[in-house]
Each structure stands twice: as structure tokens, then as C-alpha cells.
């Protein structure tokens, strides 16, 4: 599958209220319905531009604020393959890997909306194919790799009967 960059207008400190507003998350339990409202308060037309396999591109401290798991849940449901940002807030970071959503930390200054991207977590590289650039990504911690490999923390827990990071 091809992956294209979807860059947010607001780059730094994009909080989980912005990913999915409390107006929706408190009353809607269906992730598909939530996915239609992502980033509505900061970029009302954003959700309509996302297609399956896209990679969300942001700046520093993406996912700060509220612990709402509806944030990564709605991003997965919207079709995102991964999120690439300069850094992530810690609760969002755990929530995303728990649900099997790949987060990649690297310099996002040279990624424009619509660029074709390819992420390889084994070699630690992000290719911006459109621009012919290869960027280094921050190594993904072994625990997170294990959770991703198992398909999220629920599957990890079921498979091993608890945590198994050995």
C-alpha cells in the first residue's frame, strides 16, 4: 500500500481534545462516527481529506492533554497507517501502541502534505520518496515493538497470559 503524508495546519502541541473533541467523545461510542470529527476544531475539512493508508504528520508534543483513548482509536478508524511527529506526549504514546498504531519520531520539517512516505522500523529510516530524502527515526523501544508485533496490548496479554517482554 502507498502511504501519503497528511500534514496538520497546527503543528506543535496538538492535544487529544483537538484530535477528537469532548463534545463527541463523551456521547459517541462508535469509532467510525468519531473518525468523521477528527481535528474538527483546528482544521474542519481535515477528516474529509484522509484516505486509508495515510500517514499523519505533526510537530512537537503530539497528543498532549487528556488520556482519551478515543484519540488513537479515531485515527486508526480514519485509516491512518502511522503518525510521524517530532515528539509525542506520553499517555498518547502508550495508547497508540496499545491499539497497534505505529508512532514514529523524527524531524518532520521536510515532509509536505501529499508526499509519498515509507517507514521501516527495522532499519530506522523514513523515506520521503517524493523528495528523495531518507530521514533517521528515533529507535522504537523494545516493549513497543513487542506490542506492535503482537497486534496491540490486548492481544499481547491474551497470547502471553500477562506481560512478556523477555
Amino acid at each position: 500500500m502507498l502511504h501519503f503524508a497528511r500534514r496538520l495546519k497546527v503543528q506543535d502541541n496538538v492535544n487529544t481534545d483537538y484530535v477528537i473533541s469532548g463534545r463527541y467523545k463523551f456521547k459517541i461510542q462508535d469509532p467510525k462516527e468519531l473518525a468523521r470529527h477528527i481535528f474538527e476544531d483546528i482544521d474542519p475539512n481535515f477528516a474529509a481529506r484522509v484516505t486509508k493508508g495515510d500517514i499523519l504528520v505533526a510537530g512537537e508534543n503530539f497528543g498532549c492533554g487528556s488520556s482519551r483513548e478515543q484519540a488513537p482509536q479515531a485515527l486508526i478508524q480514519a485509516g491512518f497507517h502511522a503518525v510521524v511527529a517530532k515528539s509525542f506526549a506520553r499517555i498518547f504514546y502508550r495508547n497508540a501502541f496499545n491499539l497497534g498504531l505505529l508512532l514514529v519520531e523524527c524531524n518532520t520539517d521536510f515532509i509536505d502534505d501529499g508526499d509519498e512516505l515509507e517507514v521501516d522500523i527495522e532499519t530506522g529510516k523514513l523515506k520521503n520518496k517524493g523528495k528523495g530524502l531518507i530521514l533517521d527515526i528515533k529507535p522504537i523501544p523494545p516493549v513497543m515493538k513487542k506490542l506492535l508485533a503482537d497486534g496491540g496490548v490486548v492481544e499481547h496479554f491474551r497470547k502471553h497470559g500477562g506481560f512478556d517482554f523477555g
Binding site: 481534545d17 456521547k27 523501544p141 506481560f163
Partner: protein, 420 residues
């Protein structure tokens, strides 16, 4: 090499000798969810293939964010929580009980030295009573409900020393806004913070909760303080669990040490739309307000209501302002009524709503209209936080919010000098 408070508490709960950067599975003493996060906790718990909670006395759910329910969607979530609580015989604090971050310590679920998880980002509040507590998502929380454990990466720690006597009209809320401005919204991400200094020692436990509560607004995983006699007295008066106070070693290693002198601090206000966008109150004197709100897990405690009542007594709210007050728990509400505070609020023209999160998260109890401006004692002023992306939220202390409610504009509480 000595250890920080985080290194000690996480070592104690894992049975391993941990230092910052290590990853370990730890036993969790208590965990909880609220009505914004519990629906997914319940779904995730059911998907884990476990029949019962690991220890039903170590898990509770709290209905506080949208309570009482404002619509059908929320009603369905509340019903699901009540039904789960009944089926598995776990604790449920229903509407009217109060805000999770007041109830968890007030009801005695936790004590000094504990390790606590909450499916709410402001779980870091209990650092004020020497508890390593942090927010996680719903699925992480469900795993702890099922197993009594979770995995932790031991954080590096930033030591923050706050010295000086607080000037009149300046409160712990102003101190933490000042620190967040300096650190930035990303200044402590992945790290724990330990607060020290004679300014912290001089604060009541209520006022300390305000500081630890907002540690997450600079990205911190925990906002820890030592347990002094005030804390021990507070905890022993509420919990039957034996406190296990944890101090950092003298030679503990810190990522950074920062010092603040607050002796000449002015009241602070966080401007729209981020918590680190902080100014002195005097710079905002021409900002007119439509709504003032005293409450939340940051500033809805008895001491906060007393500060508001002292300023408000015998006065009237500005005719263009709606003033909403939400006590953080039923017990606080009752005490405020007994002390005559509620009468002062009502006579002045304010709306005292039920214990809970009030209008903080924008689902009920005072959603803003387009273009409206609020000043609130809450901890977040993100665009749309109070239900409308076309509104503006300022954050301040209960004194500044109350002074503003009377003046109809952002006002310096020191304008009411004799009442502070």
C-alpha cells in the same frame, strides 16, 4: 547512587532495583476510570479473556465528567458503568459524589508511597500526598483491573525548588501557572517532577493538590512532593491504609534542578488557547468576560470556595456575567453549605451546580456561545475545551476568577485587598 521518589516507589512495587530508564512490571495499589474513559475500560476488560477483576477493592469508577447526564449518548455510558459495577461488585461513585481526583484521596483509597493509575490525565494530582500516580488510557487501565499490574518505564526526574512567602492575593494556582510558563507545555514530557522548598511546605494540602494536578500540563508523568506532617495528618484522617512515606536520597540523580522565588509573584492568567501562554493579571485588565467558573479537580476544594466566598460576600456578580460554582465533592458541598458559603454564592447571583467536573470539559453545565469569553479555575484552556471552538478560555486562581466575576472583566484580586 541514590534514588528519586519515582525510582524508589517503582522499585518497591516491582521487587527489582530500578533506576531511571528501566522498564519493569509493577503491582498497582489502586486504579480507576471516569465516565469519559470507562466505556472503553469495560470493553477492553471483556476482551482480555479474564473472568473477574484481579482485586475488586482496588478498582472504582467515577461518574463526574458529564453528571448528571446531558444527553442520550452519555446516559447509555453511565448505564453501562452502573451495570458493570453491579455485575462485578466494584466501586461506583455515581452522579453527585464529585470529581475523581477529589474522591480517590478523600475517600481513603490511597496513601503515601502507593502506586496508582487512573484513566484520566490529571491522575498526577496525588503526587501532593506522596503517591506515584499517573494517567493512562482505558485499555492500559483495563489490564490493571484484570491483573493488578502494568508496565512502567521509570522516569527521569526534574527537581523544582520553590522558595519565598506567597504575597497576599497570590495562590498555589499562580505558582504552577508561573512554572508552566517557564517550562512550556512540553518541558517535562516523559519525566517526573519533584517539588520542594519553603513555599511548598507553607501550603495546605488542598493548595498542594492544585500544583501536582497541573504537572501534566508541562508533560510530566508525576508531580511528587514529600510527605510532611500536614500530609500524614491529612492521609491518616481519611485512609485506613498505613502510609509508607518515600523521600528521595540526598545523592539522587536529577535530569535538571530549577529554582523559583515567588516572594514578588503577581496573580497569573493563562490566555487562550494553551496553558503555557501565561501573563500577569494586570496585562489583561481590558478583557471582558461572559462566564466565570470556580471548581474542577484543580480548584474545587473547600479552601478554594472559602477564598471565593470571602471576596464575594455581600457583593453582586456583574450583570453581564454568569458565575458557576461546582464543589469538587458532596462532602465539600455540604461543608460549604454549613459554613454559609453556598448562601453567599447564591445571594450574589451565582449558580452552584452539582459536585463534578462542571463546565470544564464542555459537555454540560455552561457551554459557551460563539465569541464568548470564560475565566475558569480549571487546568486546560484548549480551543473548544468548554464545548465551543469559537470561544475563549482564560485560567486563573479562584480569587482572580471571583474578582473577575464581580468586575465583568479580568480583574486583579488585590483590588479586594481587605478580603484576601
Amino acid at each position: 547512587m541514590g534514588k528519586t521518589i519515582s525510582e524508589k516507589i517503582l522499585s518497591e512495587h516491582s521487587g527489582e532495583d530500578l533506576k531511571s530508564g528501566d522498564v519493569a512490571v509493577c503491582d498497582v495499589d489502586f486504579c480507576f476510570g471516569q465516565d469519559g474513559t470507562s466505556s472503553i475500560i469495560i470493553d477492553s476488560f471483556k476482551s482480555l479473556g479474564v473472568k473477574f477483576p484481579f482485586d475488586k477493592s482496588k478498582f472504582s469508577m467515577i461518574i463526574d465528567h458529564s453528571a448528571p447526564s446531558p444527553n442520550l449518548g452519555v446516559s447509555a455510558i453511565h448505564k453501562k458503568m452502573r451495570s458493570f459495577a453491579k455485575t462485578f461488585d466494584v466501586g461506583l461513585y455515581d452522579i453527585g459524589c464529585g470529581v475523581c481526583h477529589q474522591l480517590v484521596p478523600q475517600k481513603g483509597h490511597i496513601t503515601c508511597g502507593d502506586l496508582v493509575l487512573g484513566a484520566d490525565s490529571h491522575t498526577c494530582t496525588y503526587g501532593a500526598i506522596n503517591v506515584f500516580s499517573t494517567g493512562v488510557g482505558s485499555t492500559d487501565l483495563a489490564i490493571t483491573v484484570a491483573s493488578g499490574k502494568n508496565w512502567f518505564r521509570v522516569p527521569e526526574t526534574i527537581k523544582i525548588i520553590v522558595n519565598g512567602k506567597l504575597p497576599r492575593g497570590v495562590y498555589s494556582k499562580d505558582v504552577i501557572l508561573h512554572i508552566i510558563k517557564d517550562m512550556g507545555a512540553n518541558g517535562a514530557t516523559y519525566k517526573a517532577v519533584e517539588f520542594y522548598g519553603n513555599a511548598i511546605a507553607g501550603l495546605s494540602v488542598d493548595a498542594r493538590f492544585t500544583i501536582s494536578n497541573m504537572a501534566v500540563e508541562m508533560g510530566a508523568k508525576a508531580g511528587l512532593m514529600e510527605a510532611d506532617n500536614k500530609v500524614l495528618k491529612w492521609v491518616l484522617g481519611r485512609s485506613r491504609n498505613i502510609p509508607k512515606p518515600v523521600k528521595a536520597d540526598i545523592d539522587a540523580r536529577y535530569a535538571e534542578v530549577r529554582k523559583y522565588d515567588i516572594a514578588s509573584l503577581a496573580p497569573k492568567v493563562a490566555k487562550p488557547h494553551s496553558v503555557d501562554n501565561v501573563a500577569d493579571v494586570g496585562e489583561l485588565a481590558d478583557v471582558k468576560i461572559d462566564l466565570a467558573y470556580v471548581g474542577t479537580c484543580t480548584n474545587g476544594r473547600l479552601e478554594d470556595l472559602e477564598i471565593a466566598a470571602r471576596i464575594l460576600k455581600g457583593k453582586a456578580i456583574h450583570p453581564d456575567v454568569k458565575f458557576i460554582i461546582a464543589p469538587a465533592s458532596r462532602e465539600i458541598y455540604l461543608e460549604a453549605a454549613r459554613k454559609g458559603l453556598v448562601e453567599i454564592f447564591i445571594k450574589a447571583g451565582s449558580s452552584v451546580v452539582g459536585p463534578g467536573c462542571g463546565p470544564c470539559v464542555g459537555t454540560h453545565n455552561g457551554v459557551l456561545a460563539d465569541g464568548e469569553v470564560a475565566i475558569s479555575t480549571a487546568n486546560r484552556n484548549f480551543k473548544g475545551r468548554m464545548g465551543n471552538p469559537n470561544s475563549f478560555i482564560y485560567l486563573a486562581s479562584p480569587a482572580t476568577v471571583t474578582a473577575s466575576a464581580i468586575k465583568g472583566r479580568i480583574a486583579d484580586p488585590r483590588e479586594f485587598k481587605k478580603r484576601l
